[in-house]
């Protein structure tokens, strides 16, 4: 609580609050300022500034790192919506660099090659809010415990196959439903079992949802995919390779924005799904060896 007239910056409320403003919206991966303008024009609530979209990172192989800060700044210069950028898991210096150029949100992301195989960044140390990926409730609450102000289910980035996004959303939301029916004396054992901080388990039970905003990510490629994730119960969606690897990015981007708002209206979903051109060429999860899956990164 602040005294009258005295401003308090970078509180957790303010960090988590920006994610609340993104709810019901679409966050789009962009690799150039021109892409960013297309995304904003299509109605994106934020853009994720990157050198390569996940489909290309996957195809190119090698080590994937934080993007050139100059590129990120060139994107910040041309749009009025928030700009996010990715750092490697555990790479707190990349995060310090992004904070110094003033991005609005940092994604500590499994899409990049991890810099630390045991520890994530202590996100409480930063004024900039963080979003982190998760596959289940325990992972989500560990990240929130470290200071994440927003969560996204991981899915499997760069595939165009929504199955992993569904699996992870069902896992998180299903565990929350189970938690809600659990008597309080079982919470400690449950917290131990899912390796999550007890206080956050308790808070999640009381709220009946994660204590921060929860988006879906990883493999969404169509308006129907976005609406599916919204109907499952997430707060909004990230679309990465699905837009700018498709035949008509501007049209597809606008359609996914509309589908995310009108996710319960099948007639509107049908209308916006018409004549979108070629979707991104996908890669079935079943054909990807475990060693190439990104979602397993994160501890």
């Amino acid at each position: 609580m602040t005294k009258n007239g005295q401003k308090e910056v970078a509180s957790f409320k303010v960090k988590a609050g920006l994610a609340q403003m993104l709810k019901g919206g679409v966050i789009m991966d962009v690799v150039t300022a021109e892409h960013a303008k297309i995304a904003e024009e299509a109605g994106a609530v934020a853009v994720m500034a990157l050198e390569r979209v996940p489909a290309d990172i996957r195809a190119d192989g090698g080590v994937a790192r934080m993007s050139d800060p100059g590129l990120i700044q060139s994107i910040m210069d041309v749009v009025s919506i928030p700009v996010m950028a990715k750092v490697r898991i555990g790479h707190f210096v990349e995060a310090q660099i992004l904070e110094s150029i003033g991005v609005d949100y940092i994604d500590e992301s499994e899409v990049l090659t991890p810099a630390d195989e045991a520890h994530h960044i202590n996100k409480h140390d930063f004024k900039i809010p963080f979003v982190c990926g998760c596959r289940n409730l325990g992972e989500a609450l560990r990240r929130i415990g470290e200071g994440a102000a927003m969560i996204r289910t991981k899915g499997e980035a760069g595939t165009g196959d929504v199955v992993e996004a569904v699996r992870h959303a069902r896992s998180v939301l299903g565990e929350i439903r189970r938690l809600q029916n659990m008597p309080d004396e079982e919470l400690m054992a449950f917290a131990k079992d899912i390796q999550a901080p007890y206080e956050l388990v308790k808070e999640t039970k009381e709220l009946g949802r994660l204590p921060v905003v929860n988006f879906a990510a990883g493999g969404l490629a169509t308006p129907a995919d976005a609406a599916l994730m919204m109907q499952l119960g997430v707060d909004g969606v990230f679309v990465g390779s699905g837009i700018f690897k498709s035949g008509d990015p501007a049209k597809r981007a606008a359609a996914i924005v509309k589908a995310t708002t009108h996710y319960q209206d099948a007639a509107i979903l049908a209308e916006v799904s018409k004549n979108l051109g070629e979707p991104m060429v996908g890669r079935q999860i079943a054909d990807i060896p475990d060693s190439e899956k990104l979602a397993g990164r994160g501890w």
Partner: protein, 196 residues
């Protein structure tokens, strides 16, 4: 009395939760016909460009303007921008309120803040009227209030206008829906009450 919350994008669920806590019948509004069922409308925080584009795409602009000429509307943050006549940028606006706003006026996310505000108007719903704890997120400021019937409700210590009212229309550059303090919602409900 039934209150609608424009649910195109943003933190509409947070507004609905406050209204339900106050025991008010509330509904999500996404299409023009749904406006017929409500007595007052809240436009939530979010991205004003996204909300504007979706309002244009689903033919909500004129129905919202007609609604605002008869019934109370309150816009928080993005909602305040959307209500304004002038946002000094090319984006869809309702133009219902004679205010000029400046988007992202305090800077980027790193400059978002919380502060206690004196808001004399809230005395209508709160006898002792303690400071209102306000959350500003990539917030706009109200650069000027441009009509004799439009008044300033709250300012920061440096004089920056952050809340204004013009008849049945209310604009706040901060987010009362992110607080447990529901006095601003109660204040809006008094406008709906007297309009009805």
């Amino acid at each position: 009395m039934k209150i609608g919350v424009l649910a195109l994008q943003g933190d509409f669920a947070e507004h609905l939760a406050v209204l339900r806590r106050l025991g008010v019948d509330a509904a999500e509004i996404r299409l023009p016909a749904q406006l017929d069922e409500i007595d007052g409308l809240i436009i939530p925080g979010g991205e004003s460009t996204t909300i504007g584009k979706l309002a244009v795409a689903y033919d909500l602009m004129d129905p919202l303007r007609a609604f605002g000429k008869e019934k109370p509307i309150w816009g928080t943050c993005a909602g305040a921008i959307f209500l304004s006549k002038d946002a000094q940028r090319d984006q869809p606006l309702l133009g219902l309120m004679d205010i000029t706003v400046q988007r992202n006026a305090f800077g980027r996310q790193v400059d978002s803040f919380e502060v206690g505000l004196e808001i004399p108007a809230l005395a209508r719903v709160s006898e002792d009227n303690p400071p209102f704890y306000a959350v500003f997120i990539r917030a706009p400021l109200i650069e000027s209030v441009d009509a004799p019937d439009a008044e300033v409700l709250a300012s920061l210590e440096d004089g920056t206008i952050v809340a204004a009212q013009q008849g049945n229309l209310l604009a706040t550059s901060f987010h009362p829906e992110l607080n447990p303090d529901d006095r601003f919602h109660q204040y809006f409900l008094t406008l709906v009450d007297s309009a009805g």
